[in-house]
């Protein structure tokens, strides 16, 4: 089934008020930033209120949407003309965007609430909430936009919010550097997106989805592939996919709620959104661009998993896992309509259980004086019972323990990829096994075994304002997957937005890949228990084998970047400077010098004497009159 036509919304109801979703958190951010210290007292409450408000609006829009006939479920609400003749500011309300909205606002609200407790001792809590609100607004604009321009504004907005939040503790040099790195790497991706937009505009004369998508099939194959690959470059930057993955691990310098919301649950999935949104037009089934997407996805899911196995920093371990899980989503998104629903389903459940895991990690850190090294944890399950239980549920969900969320969605992805390309499918299965290993390692090192922490640490359970969000997230981590996947609920729901395969896939719990996956996860978990549960975990990181170091160093991603881009870049610069001093000088430097020089020369006319000004006017008048004569009598 092809995606439904995008209708322009005419009726009233919640859909016509969908802009409130963006405006509420934006207003919150504006009030908190402009109000300054005056809002310190209640700033965090306002932030929460605005986020919850956005969720309420999203829920109302959702209710109105499911009341409509499936063919009517793609409605664009035009707000106003933005750049006359190029783009409008408009919202596209369809099953895909509303799914994202619900995820963003619901998880976002929980994380807002959690942050009240987590940031309670921070003097800049108000600013933190302002940035969080700003992020929510930008993210909602990104997913709700009905054209690429507005999407790009949201895209840059989340980038800005991410930059501000990674560097929130800017007095830490590592945080400032990480923020800068995220900023620069993301610009590479944005550049791709921007070029893609230029090509789209040049090709189709518009950037509105409603006009671009139906027209796409008329463009030549080469153009479509070019657009697809450039869009993918943008997606890779935002979603930390290979080769633009390096910023995500460093981004963990930000406060943990930020890692949970932006760098796990929502923003990093924007790339998946972009691919799925543009899927029917630029990544159709069997296209070159789609193939590249799947390759990038598989490579990243393996790379992320391997990185996860060696990290001792709990947050970096989770970040590796995020990369890996997004790799799964990309993989599914690349195979076309058969995979979209699973990609989105995994995206949603991942949003819940990964947020659960991150917040759990945050709760542990909160208890341990912000210690992040798992080698200094151990035996925390009795001291932090709620955190332990919720974290454990998240853990079961992510490794795909039967009947929990991750089981259904990841299995769905593997299943559909198997039909598409067996090699990719088996690689995905392998990734699941590694996931079993590193997640078990994390749980074991943190919660089991003897305590390895300092005498100074006094682990304590977090306050209720932090544990309740954990509990709610873990509940969803249990049941959401089954709800979305069984009887193809999400697939049918998303059908009007992204299209659905002619034949609805069934759920096969006892297929070969499914059973193999379970077996491999069990093996992975077993190895982890044997290695870290049964024997002593050294407090200081051992040197490790070649492979361990390889993983620890993020698979030498930074070294690779340095060798491939930075050094040649520097070398090129030096070369350019060399040539600049010789030949090109005349063109480039000469131009700048010429402008500056003529400015200096022209400036001499400005003597400051009024009679010379009068003369300049007089000469001007004579020239003007002469010119008029010449033109007039010709």
């Amino acid at each position: 089934m092809e995606p439904a036509e995008i209708l322009s919304h005419t009726g009233g109801g919640a859909i016509s008020l969908a802009w409130l979703m963006i405006v509420l958190p934006l207003a919150g951010a504006a009030i908190l930033l402009i109000g300054g210290r005056a809002t310190n007292k209640w700033g965090h409450l306002l932030g929460v209120l605005m986020s919850v408000g956005a969720f309420v609006v999203a829920a109302l829009v959702f209710l109105q949407l499911i009341g409509l006939d499936p063919a009517q479920r793609r409605q664009s609400v035009n707000l106003y003309e933005f750049i006359p003749g190029v783009a409008n500011i408009g919202l596209l309300i369809d099953p895909l965007s509303i799914s994202f909205c619900l995820l963003i606002t619901f998880v976002g609200s929980l994380i807002h609430i959690y942050s009240i407790g987590y940031m309670s001792h921070d003097p800049d809590r108000r600013r933190f909430f302002a940035y969080l609100n700003l992020f929510v607004a930008a993210m909602l604009l990104l997913v709700l936009a009905d054209n690429y321009v507005a999407l790009f504004i949201g895209w840059e907005g989340v980038g800005l919010a991410s930059y501000l939040l990674i560097g929130f503790w800017q007095y830490k040099p590592s945080a400032a550097v990480a923020a800068k790195k995220a900023f620069v790497v993301n610009r590479v991706g944005d550049f791709g997106l921007l070029i893609a937009m230029f090509i789209i505009f040049a090709q189709f004369g518009t950037l509105q989805y409603a006009e671009v998508f139906p027209a796409a099939s008329q463009a030549s194959q080469g153009v479509l592939t070019a657009i697809g690959l450039l869009l993918l470059l943008g997606a890779c930057g935002k979603s930390a996919q290979l080769p633009l993955q390096s910023w995500l691990l460093d981004a963990m310098e930000g406060p943990t709620p930020v890692s949970a919301l932006i760098h796990a649950a929502t923003m990093v999935t924007a790339g998946v959104y972009l691919v799925v949104r543009s899927g029917a037009a630029f990544f159709p089934e069997g296209s070159t661009a789609g193939l590249v997407v799947t390759i990038v996805g598989v490579a990243t899911l393996l790379a992320g998993a391997i990185i996860g196995t060696a990290k001792d920093d709990i947050k970096k371990g989770l970040a590796g896992s995020t990369m890996s899980q997004i790799g799964y989503m990309m993989l599914a998104a690349g195979i076309g309509p058969a995979g979209y629903a699973f990609a989105i389903a995994h995206l949603i459940t991942h949003g819940f259980f990964k947020a659960d895991l991150f917040l759990g990690a945050g709760s542990v850190m909160h208890a341990m004086n912000d210690e992040v090294d798992m080698r200094r944890y151990g035996g925390l399950r009795k001291l932090l019972p709620i955190t332990f239980v919720t974290f454990f549920i998240g853990y079961l969900a992510i490794i795909g323990f039967p009947l929990l969320s991750g089981y259904f969605t990841k299995d769905g992805i593997i299943e559909s990829v198997m039909h598409h390309n067996a090699i990719l499918g088996w690689l995905a299965v392998l990734g699941a096994g590694i996931t079993g290993f590193y997640m078990t390692r994390m749980v074991v090192m943190t919660f089991f075994g003897p305590k390895r922490w300092d005498e100074k640490a006094h682990p304590h359970e977090s306050p209720a304002v932090m544990t309740w969000p954990l509990i709610i997230l873990s509940i969803f981590s249990v049941g959401l997957g089954a709800y979305l996947i069984l009887s193809n609920r999400l697939l049918v729901f998303l059908g009007p937005a992204v299209g659905q395969p002619a034949e609805l896939p069934g759920f096969h719990p006892f297929s070969v890949p499914g059973l193999t996956t379970l077996a491999l996860v069990a093996v992975g978990a077993g190895i982890a228990i044997a290695k870290y549960g049964r024997s002593e975990v050294p407090v200081v990181q051992p040197r490790g084998s070649f492979l361990t170091v390889f993983a620890r160093r993020d698979l030498y991603g930074d070294a690779l970047n340095e060798a491939l881009f930075m050094r040649p870049g520097q070398w090129l610069t030096r070369l350019a400077v060399f040539f600049d001093n010789r030949g090109i000088d005349g063109v480039v430097n000469g131009l700048a010098a010429g402008v500056g020089g003529s400015s200096g020369r022209l400036r001499k006319i400005q003597t400051g004497y009024v009679r010379s000004y009068a003369l300049s006017i007089f000469v001007g008048a004579a020239v003007l009159a002469g010119a008029w004569f010449v033109v007039g009598t010709l």
Partner: protein
């Protein structure tokens, strides 16, 4: 027996309110005790501006008149009402800046630096005459673009300029510079007025009337053996008008005057006067000389090109922040002139006009905001005018520097600021004409914008990426009025950059009816 003239009081009410309030202001000067004057002037001035604005709105709502008012002297039409609204808003915020007594000399008659001046400062003397003077200037600004014949346009030009000449010389700091600016502005203004007047006389010789519509009709008829008068006359009239907008080669006064004048007055001139003068340029060239566009367009082309290039290039070597903004204003005048040439059939004219009106609004508001910030950064001897003093301001006072950077980006026309849409609207209308010569000028304008962006960004780099000097300038705590101005300008610059539609619609609606013809 003379029949009494008919005066459309309702249509002229905004003008009459402003002039009336100015005269009441003079009476206040004459009769109110000194300690009361300011307390009366400020509300009087602001309320008259608000009242006039309300009347403009009311007229817009009740329907725009289609015939000139006051015996054909004043054309209150759609574009006029839009320009009036713009000028009144800009004047309102400028008057809020003028409200800052610190900016004005306590006693203009005292010799600069004399003991008498010291005494006047300690006694707290003040020239509250600035309020009625400003109102007279604003009244002139309103009348200038609404004038329907060259005679009243000349009177309006003088009514607008004379108070400004005076106000320019009243700066408290750097008084000699201020007085010099005032005299320069006066002499050059008088010089250019002479050209305007001579042009009017020659056009009268051509058409036998000074009425804009009369000249238009005469042009439509053509022939008659007096065309050469038209040529010289238009050139002279053009000199007078182009001088007011600061187009090259008549731009020399702008940096000196902007630099010397008290900053609030600079803000008023850079915003209100520019809007008014552009309104007048449009009226003369589109209404009176609309049938002669193939004659003036090539010359306007040269003037526009020269203006934007000169403004952008000269700005690069400026070291005084106010002079830099003055050159930026010259460059913007060049960009605006591009739109003046984008005339064609009716729809095209409406497109160009709406673009110009929108540009004027956005540029005016941003300018006032930028100058308001200039008033806040101070050295012991007054404003920190030298650019090097602004180094590292971003570290000292990030909010202020951030706002200033934002205004500069708006000047440069970066997307998501109002400046982008201003430029976009004007350039689009020029490209829409589909003439190669004009499209070429748009290309030149874009290149000039890029050059201009260089010196804006340079200031931003200076503020944020260089270290503050130990004895750097202090940022004074803004008064409520100044913070209102800065806040309003920043808000409008953002809002018009993100959500330009309402004002664009308004401009389109105003432009649709075009000028009364």
């Amino acid at each position: 027996m003379i029949t009494a003239p008919t005066i459309e009081y309702f249509a002229l009410a905004p003008l009459l309110i402003i002039f009336g309030a100015a005269i009441i202001g003079v009476l206040v000067e004459a009769f109110a005790p000194r300690y009361l004057r300011r307390a009366v002037h400020v509300p009087l001035t602001l309320l008259s501006l608000v009242g006039a604005f309300a009347l403009v709105i009311l007229q817009t709502v009740r329907g725009v008149p289609t015939t000139p008012a006051a015996m054909g002297s004043v054309a209150v039409d759609g574009p006029t009402l839009f320009i009036w609204g713009t000028i009144l808003v800009l004047s309102f915020v400028s008057v809020l800046l003028i409200n800052d007594e610190e900016q004005f000399v306590p006693s203009a008659a005292a010799v600069p630096g004399s003991a008498e001046e010291e005494k006047a400062i300690t006694e707290g003397a003040a020239h509250t005459e600035v309020y009625p003077l400003a109102l007279f200037a604003i009244g002139g600004m309103l009348l200038f673009p609404a004038s329907n014949d060259l005679l009243i346009m000349f009177v309006a030009l003088e009514v607008m300029s004379l108070p400004l000449y005076l106000l320019c010389g009243l700066a408290r700091r750097r008084r000699l510079l201020s007085q010099e600016a005032s005299v320069k502005y006066f002499l050059l203004g008088a010089f250019s007025s002479a050209f305007f007047l001579y042009g009017t006389a020659l056009l009268y010789g051509f058409a036998g009337t000074v009425d804009l519509l009369g000249i238009r009709e005469r042009l439509a008829v053509g022939g008659g053996g007096t065309e050469t008068l038209l040529l010289v006359g238009t050139a002279m009239l053009g000199v007078g008008l182009l001088f007011k907008i600061g187009a090259a080669p008549f731009q020399a006064w702008k940096p000196d005057v902007y630099q010397g004048a008290p900053t609030p007055i600079t803000a008023l001139m850079a915003s209100g006067t520019l809007v008014a003068a552009f309104g007048a340029v449009l009226r003369v060239f589109w209404v009176a000389l609309g049938n002669d566009s193939w004659n003036w367009e090539p010359i306007m082309w040269g003037v526009a090109a020269l203006t934007m290039v000169a403004g952008s290039i000269l700005a690069i070597t400026q070291t005084d922040i106010k002079r830099m903004l003055a050159y930026s204003s010259i460059a913007h005048a060049g960009f605006l002139l591009v739109g003046v040439m984008a005339v064609g059939e009716r729809g095209q004219n409406a497109l160009a006009l709406s673009g110009l009106l929108f540009y004027l609004v956005t540029y005016g508001i941003t300018t006032v905001g930028a100058f308001a910030i200039v008033t806040l950064v101070r050295d012991p001897g007054g404003e920190a005018w030298h650019l090097s003093r602004w180094a590292g301001l971003g570290k000292r006072s990030p909010k202020l520097a951030g706002l200033f950077a934002f205004f500069l980006l708006a000047f440069a026309g970066i997307p998501l600021t109002s400046g982008f849409f201003g430029k976009y609207a004007v350039f689009r209308s020029a490209v829409a004409l589909g003439e190669a010569w004009l499209t070429g000028l748009v290309v030149l304008a874009v290149v000039a914008s890029a050059a201009a962006a260089f010196f804006y960004v340079r200031v931003i780099v200076l503020m944020f990426f260089s270290d503050p000097s130990a004895d750097g300038p202090t940022v004074v705590t803004p008064s409520w009025a100044t913070s209102t101005v800065v806040g309003f300008s920043a808000f409008a610059t953002v809002a018009l950059g993100v959500f330009p539609q309402p004002v664009l619609d308004l401009a389109e609606k105003a432009a649709k009816s075009l000028f009364v013809q």
